[in-house]
């Protein structure tokens, strides 16, 4: 798949990246068109602000409930599915304490697995060929850019990113530089 048309600046630190983000917002770029990448989380800065994902907690809890139910059914089935009747001396065939242990372990296992699946799905991982990426991000630069900017806005956006302190200006798609 061809890379999307993107203009981005590589900023030497989070403070400069913050200025870059604000410069793009001043230019009227919609939030959803701005792309941000960094090699570490800068949660203290506004430019990385994203919604808190309470869904992950809820999904983990739901996964736990589903896993616990399956665990209970499995543990119960293992005790009643014998081809011959078990002699338990009047004790219940389904023993509560061991059933509880299996149920508990599978509850936690499912919560963990659900969390991992949620993480991968919501972040679109794996995605071995990301559309926009620059290896200089992992050398400490922060990427702030615009996806699909209008053709006429190129010079203005580049100039704003430059003034905000971008160390380099680059592009992909039709904005790629040789």
């Amino acid at each position: 798949m061809a890379a999307p048309d993107t203009i981005y600046g590589l900023f030497p630190g989070p403070a400069a990246a913050e200025r870059g983000m604000n410069a793009l917002r001043d230019a009227g770029v919609a939030r959803e068109k701005i792309v941000v990448m960094s090699d570490e989380p800068f949660e203290e800065y506004e430019f990385t602000r994203t919604e808190r994902n309470v869904t992950m907690y809820r999904l983990a809890a739901c996964g736990g409930i589903v896993g616990g139910t399956l665990g209970f059914l499995l543990a119960r089935y293992m005790q009643v599915a014998y081809r011959f009747p078990l002699i338990t001396g009047g004790m219940p065939l389904v023993s509560p304490f061991p059933t509880g242990i299996v149920t508990y372990e599978l509850t936690m296992l499912s919560a963990i697995v659900t969390t991992v699946i949620t993480l991968l799905v919501t972040t679109s991982l794996p995605n071995w060929k990301p559309k926009v990426y620059d290896e200089e991000v992992s050398h400490g630069l922060v990427l702030i850019g615009v996806v699909d900017p209008p053709e006429g806005a190129r010079a203005d956006l580049e100039s704003r990113l430059q003034r905000a302190g971008a160390a380099k200006i680059k592009g992909t798609g039709r904005f790629a530089r040789n």
Binding site: N22, R25, K33, Y45, E46, A81, I101, L109, S138
Partner: protein, 454 residues
């Protein structure tokens, strides 16, 4: 740690991945040879049968189950400690967590092999799996061994994911510096990580959930291992104190293993600027607390047995304290309490060297503790006709396999630190952030908004 630039941190922590010295290869070959020897000993056992081990009626659990309990205990070093420190938001944890989590994964994997080695007919291990067999029978849910199966597998999977998730950004870091085949491998491992705000937020949220989930799992694992013993009517085993006693002992040995591992990493990977004396001092304080707790549990258990004066329990109690096992028992007390307590209680001695000496003592002492829980009790069960006439002695097969697991641990740890940054690079960098400078130009995105088209 002196404030370092992100690029310096990258260089320091990725350096061990880039060059391999001859010394490293020789040490690795040495431990690999021991692992191979253990593999051959196991093959010999499969060929000749479990009789080549020293376990005889009534001591059916010997070195293998001792090692099983010891390694499962040691696995509490990492994920549990790391999860607790994460939830407490202890900032000093950052260089320590991955070193610890790796111990969990490898120790748990090694520990989980021992029930299979102990089986005698290891090719029938799949009978533990709950599957509809043609025989129409299922694993016995009432058996603590089946609880082990579920608990250990849950903990192993949880620990592996707890270790792997924060490694994804570091894989991306290595990917962007690697060339050729290594680049392909790290590209695959990084899953295409780009570091968008959404990815960072989701990762941190996932780690928070995992930390919450993994703590009760870790506690349950060693509780269930203790119930392998406590559910059996064997003198000195059938005790209500066993679950917390085992969990405390597991954390105790785990912290000791972590201190030793960190000291070795610090020396051999030249991480002196990252693994600081304060890390050892903090872990030393934890070790001191656990040493006191361990002593309290041992004293409580023994006092109750002694005061009860129940003949079968007294037989085992006296066998360990005054009888043929007394040298091992008092060595255990010496290693677990008398060495670490003064070293760790006196600030002047709570140095890196002091912590390592105390930790080596604890690891030896905790292995002896596991041995002393198992063998003396089985040697003197309730009916005297079943008492052993010849004491349990491990054979060369058991000794070789035991040595092989220790070598395997070191070897796996060495290999891991060669291919993956042993300190989480992004977490370390995040820990260095000064307070946010605020909005530079006065513009702020509204809270709760998404900044990134990804």
């Amino acid at each position: 740690m002196a404030q370092k630039t992100p690029e310096q941190i990258n260089d320091d922590l990725l350096r061990p991945l880039q060059a391999t010295s001859l010394k490293y290869k020789l040490i690795l070959a040495f431990f690999f040879a021991i692992v191979v020897a253990a593999g051959l000993a196991f093959a010999h056992q499969i060929d000749y049968g479990i009789g080549v081990a020293g376990i005889r009626r009534p001591v059916f659990w010997g070195f293998y189950i001792t090692n099983f309990v010891f390694w499962i205990g040691l696995s509490h070093a990492g994920t549990l400690i790391s999860a607790i420190l994460r939830l407490c938001n202890a900032t000093w944890r950052r260089p320590v967590t991955r070193c610890a989590e790796v111990i969990t994964v490898f120790a748990l994997s090694i520990g989980a092999t021992f029930p299979v080695i102990h089986l005698g007919r290891p090719w029938l291990a799949f009978w533990l799996f709950p599957y509809p067999s043609e025989r129409g029978i299922w694993p016995n849910v009432r058996s603590p061994l089946l609880w082990d199966f579920f608990a250990i597998n849950t903990y192993l999977l949880g620990s592996v994911t707890f270790l792997l998730l924060p490694m994804i950004p570091d894989f991306a870091l290595v990917r962007d510096r690697a060339m050729g085949f290594r680049k392909k491998i790290y590209s695959a491992l990084s899953l295409g990580w780009t570091g968008t705000p959404k990815q960072w937020h989701r990762l941190e949220t996932a780690m928070h959930i995992m930390a919450i989930a993994v703590i009760p799992v870790a506690v349950s694992v060693h509780s269930i291992v203790s119930w392998d013993f406590a559910m059996a009517p064997v003198p000195m085993w059938h005790s209500t104190i066993f679950a917390p006693y085992f969990v405390a002992g597991a954390i105790f040995s785990g912290i000791a293993a972590l201190i030793i591992a960190m000291a070795l990493l610090r020396k051999f990977l030249h991480l002196e600027e990252y693994l600081l004396p304060i890390h050892f001092e903090n872990l030393g304080k934890l070790l001191l607390v656990m040493s006191l707790l361990w002593f309290y549990f041992v004293a409580s258990e023994r006092l109750t047995a002694w005061y009860g004066n129940e003949p079968s329990e007294m037989t085992v109690l006296l066998l360990t304290q005054r009888g043929s096992f007394s040298p091992l028992f008092w060595t255990m007390v010496f290693c677990n309490f008398l060495i670490p307590f003064p070293i760790l209680a006196i600030k002047k001695f709570r140095t890196i060297t002091g912590c390592v000496i105390a930790s080596i003592g604890v690891v030896i002492g905790m292995w002896l503790e596991r041995f002393l829980i198992i063998v003396p009790s089985l040697s003197r069960k309730y009916l005297p006709y079943a008492w052993v006439t010849a004491p349990y002695r491990p054979t060369w097969v058991e000794l070789t396999i035991t040595a092989g697991t220790f070598a395997a641990m070191v070897m796996l740890y060495m290999l891991f630190s060669k291919f993956i940054p042993i300190i989480s690079v992004w977490e370390l960098k995040a820990g260095q952030h000064p307070e946010a400078e605020g909005a530079v130009t006065g513009h702020k995105l509204p809270a709760g908004s998404e900044a990134g088209a990804d």
